[in-house]
């Protein structure tokens, strides 16, 4: 049976309560009659033989020569791959990156290539740990390359390891990993979880530095990206594409391999989280009740550990290799096939249940800034054509939003939250007054380069990610969040969804239209 497409439910009196993710927990909420709930399409079928599909993609690439013909003895080969931020949740072993890179390495070995470097293309994200690298690439690859220094994390703050390639016609500086730039071939292995990923963004962002990133990771770009999940209306992508052109003209030869996953997000016993509520079985209901009650009694640290240990059953639905842009067109179509849902008209109030995980808190803490980024950055932008919520509308997010930070992963976030947001939440003022000092702070540089810290400037990018939403919305309310933390974000706290809806009416008027984005599983709304 083919998977059912996405679906917009109109809530009536017989509709069961709707599941809202709520950090390391979940809530059932009774939405008012007439509300809409958007459900993601069901999981697409997996590739029957992923290894064979990968082999075929490498042998029959799009708009490029077969990979074996590009490999020769004595060449310098660099394989870059997406970092810990993808996919979400982390996938069960074998990870898509392991499957693809093993295939590439087999071909390289057959061609007698022995100068191979593997680089985690993390830009200004935190360095991956050994365990994380082993999970993404497999023990065989790790043990073969890491001990001799041929498998490592990208270091955007090592001046000797970066190469300046030139400027775009808009004056954007392009600087990427020297090893990648000076290789005979750069193979980029990507996981396209959402439409924003991949394309020229892989190399132009993943292997770049603050010097380059600041040209598109800024408020003006994000506000001109409507949305950044829609490549053709995204200034973020336009900038990356211009940079991609500079990289190409500089002679960097890229063989792009992009993979797509289905949206089978939660393993048993949490698989009920991705079902439509009226299709819950008695067993699902029991699991919900049992897990809700036990989670309510579980210490936060233990809950976090339980949820962070979830490995998603999602797996490959497609793999495409070849020329960057040609590959990305196919990949994006596949992502849309999995995620796109047509929604008629905007809404006054958009509700979201934010999960425990986002791209920047894998094995970490979802701090308040990441809550903002996940809601106003990622989920708000999961649209084509028009935002789901109308201009001046209200976004209601459900999340505990604890005033808590991972001190190793997010040191600059703590200062951003304490010192920047206490002064202003205006993205433009923040960018102007504070960005440079955080970006050039030696301590943050040190922690980024030697520890496992996100770069000093990273919390700014999180805030910019939400800047389009901040400009668009009339208000943001967080249900069940730490009131102090929520207020520091510039949002309003509410104890219940009912309270939040009443508060929202002060902004959007009485009898508002309400739409709930039932994610995860991830979906993208095409708002007509």
């Amino acid at each position: 049976m083919s998977p059912r497409p996405g679906f917009v439910l109109e809530v009536d009196r017989s509709t069961p309560p709707t599941l809202f993710m709520h950090g390391e927990g979940f809530r059932l909420e009774q939405l008012p009659v007439g509300s809409r709930v958007i459900y993601a399409p069901e999981a697409l079928p997996l590739l029957r033989d992923p290894s064979e599909a990968i082999r075929q993609a490498l042998l029959h690439p799009v708009d490029a020569d077969p990979l074996p013909s590009m490999l020769f003895p004595g060449m310098k080969l660099t394989i870059a791959f997406d970092d810990i931020s993808l996919p979400l949740p982390p996938m069960r072993r074998p990870d898509a990156r392991q499957r693809v890179i093993e295939a590439v390495l087999d071909l390289a070995a057959a061609a007698g290539v022995d100068d191979v470097h593997l680089i985690a293309a993390l830009a200004l994200h935190r360095r991956m740990t050994e365990a994380e690298l082993r999970h993404a690439l497999g023990d065989r690859i790790y043990d073969a390359f890491a001990p001799r220094g041929a498998l490592y994390n990208h270091d955007a703050e090592d001046p000797d390891a970066m190469a300046f390639l030139g400027e775009t016609d808009k004056g954007e500086e392009v600087e990427i990993s020297r090893r990648a730039a000076e290789s005979d071939l750069l193979v980029y292995v990507n996981i396209n979880l959402v439409a924003m990923d991949g394309g020229h963004k892989s190399t132009a962002t993943g292997l770049s530095s603050y010097r380059s990133l600041r040209h598109h990771h800024n408020v003006a770009t994000m506000r001109k990206s409507r949305s950044f999940m829609d490549q053709h209306r995204s200034e973020l992508h336009s900038s990356n594409w211009r940079m991609g052109e500079v990289i190409r003209k500089a002679g960097v030869k890229i063989f792009q391999i992009e993979t797509t996953l289905n949206n089978d997000t939660f393993p048993k016993p949490f698989d009920f989280l991705q079902k439509r509520e009226w299709e819950w079985t008695a067993r699902d209901r029991m699991t919900f009740l049992a897990s809700s009650k036990s989670l309510a009694r579980t210490p936060e640290r233990v809950k976090r550990s339980i949820f962070q240990s979830i490995q998603a059953p999602h797996d490959l639905t497609g793999v495409t290799a070849g020329e960057v842009e040609a590959v990305h067109r196919i990949t994006t179509a596949k992502v849309m096939e999995q995620q796109l849902v047509v929604v008629e008209g905007q809404t006054d109030i958009l509700t979201l249940g934010l999960p425990y995980i986002g791209p920047y808190n894998v094995n970490s803490v979802m701090n308040p800034i990441l809550v903002m980024c996940l809601g106003l950055g990622y989920f708000f932008n999961m649209y084509k054509e028009r935002p789901l919520v109308r201009e001046g509308g209200v976004l209601i997010m459900s999340h505990p939003t604890p005033w808590e930070f991972h001190p190793v992963h997010h040191p600059s976030y703590i200062d951003f939250f304490e010192q920047v947001l206490s002064e202003t939440t205006d993205p433009i003022e923040i960018e102007k007054r504070f960005e440079r000092s955080f970006a050039e702070d030696e301590w943050y540089r040190h922690l980024y380069r030697t520890g496992h810290a996100y770069h000093g400037v990273h919390p700014f990018y999180m805030w910019y990610w939400g800047s389009h939403a901040l400009e668009h919305l009339g208000g943001v309310i967080v249900v069940g969040g730490d009131p102090k933390a929520v207020r520091r974000l510039g949002f309003k706290p509410a104890s219940t969804l009912r309270d939040a809806l009443e508060m929202a009416e002060d902004v959007v008027g009485r009898d508002p239209s309400i739409t709930h984005l039932h994610a995860p599983p991830l979906l993208m709304a095409q708002v007509t």
Binding site: P407, P411, D415, E418, Q419, W443, A453
Partner: protein, 400 residues
């Protein structure tokens, strides 16, 4: 006359210590402090005058005394029974309004020739505070011979009196003494504070006055303040702080300002660099430990808040070559332009310029001394800064 009198009573002192530890300011209910009708202090000689207090402030050192938490260091330099109160604006018999400079140095004690400090008009460093014709007592408010501000009458030596200009309200005048203390501390931060990163720990009365003094006489590149309560944060900003943070955010704020590294783990342990000067306006074990953690090697810590017996690891003081400087009282200051000024003259100026009368949050009559002391002890959490006794309507004031 009506007065709050502090008597020597070990059982009551012990009770105050227990009550004060349980709830600050509660030592007043069980301790050696009593509202009493006592004889007014006698005038030692013709150079003394009677002062009828109008307002008398409650200071942190008073609260420590009442809660039995002050250091035993003071035992030989106070004399019992005494009437507390050293932040005083009052009237002389001829109606002249005066502010009291409470240190009982060589002048009030009739000692001639005066010690070197008093000869240089630096009375805060007097070496004769137990000698002369007065009983021991470092200040009015701790000496059994002079009375104190928490009463309807005290006596003061002419060298202790400063005329109050008509333009200055009683509320402003009662702020002169604590402001003078803060000015001494702020000037002790020079020259390191000039164009440097300066941190102030605590934003009670002393902290806020210190901020105002630093803003007036130093030019710090960044003036960072750790303030616990919202009204303190607002006042700190108004008075010249460039960055105000919660006390537990101070280390990170200083680190950010200096761009220095942290030592140890990513969790804020201590800074590799740090502030050029830290002014500790709290005087607790925690505040001094914090000061040592956030002051750069070769920097200076100025202790303005009265410390008690504290246990602090002084290794950083040694290893980082930090100067630890006490800033008690007032006298004569060496100014940045190399001139000499009386601290009280500077305080009068600053109180008027910075509008420090706004720091007087509330006043109480003597009869409600327990409420007043409890309020003062919880001033921060109750949205107040300076709590004072208002004696202007005390009937006994006019009987004498």
């Amino acid at each position: 006359m009506k007065a709050l009198r502090f008597e020597r009573s070990l059982p009551r002192f012990a009770a105050a210590r227990v009550a004060g530890a349980w709830a600050p300011g509660r030592g007043a209910a069980v301790g050696p402090l009593r509202l009493a009708d006592i004889d007014p202090p006698r005038l030692p000689d013709g150079s003394w005058q009677r002062v009828r207090p109008r307002l008398a402030g409650i200071c942190g050192s008073d609260l420590a005394t009442i809660d039995g938490a002050s250091s035993r260091w003071f035992e030989p330099i106070v004399s019992f029974p005494f009437v507390p109160g050293h932040e005083v604006v009052g009237d002389l018999d001829d109606g002249t309004r005066v502010v009291l400079e409470p240190v009982l140095g060589c002048g009030p004690r009739g000692i001639t020739p005066p010690c070197a400090a008093c000869a240089g008009r630096d009375v805060g460093r007097c070496t004769n505070i137990t000698a002369g014709h007065l009983e021991p007592g470092l200040q009015t408010g701790y000496c059994c011979d002079t009375g104190g501000g928490w009463s309807t009458v005290l006596v003061a030596h002419e060298s202790q009196l400063h005329l109050v200009p008509d333009t200055l309200s009683d509320e402003a005048a009662v702020m002169v003494e604590p402001t003078a203390c803060a000015i001494r501390g702020a000037l002790a931060a020079l020259p390191l504070a000039d164009n440097g990163v300066v941190t102030v720990i605590g934003a009670g009365t002393l902290g806020l006055c210190t901020i105002a003094a630093l803003a007036r006489w130093a030019s710090p590149r960044e003036l960072i303040v750790g303030a616990k309560h919202p009204h303190q944060r607002t006042l700190a900003r108004d008075l010249g702080a460039t960055l105000v943070v919660n006390p537990d955010e101070l280390r990170r704020a200083v680190r950010r300002s200096r761009g220095s590294l942290m030592v140890g783990e990513c969790t804020a342990t201590r800074l590799a660099g740090g502030a050029d000067v830290t002014l500790d306006c709290v005087g607790s074990e925690e505040s001094l430990t914090e000061a040592l953690a956030i002051t750069r090697p070769g920097g200076r810590i100025v202790m303005i808040g009265m410390p008690g017996t504290v246990t602090v690891d002084l290794t950083p003081l040694w290893q980082r070559g930090i100067e630890l400087v006490g800033a008690y009282a007032y006298g004569t200051e060496s100014m940045p332009d190399h001139g000499q000024r009386r601290t009280f003259d500077l305080a009068f100026e600053l109180v008027a310029e910075a509008g420090l009368d706004r720091l007087v949050s509330t006043t109480y009559p003597l009869d409600r001394y327990r409420d007043a002391l409890a309020h003062a002890a919880e001033a921060g959490s109750r949205g107040a800064v300076k709590v004072a006794f208002d004696l202007r309507k005390e009937k006994e004031r006019d009987w004498l």
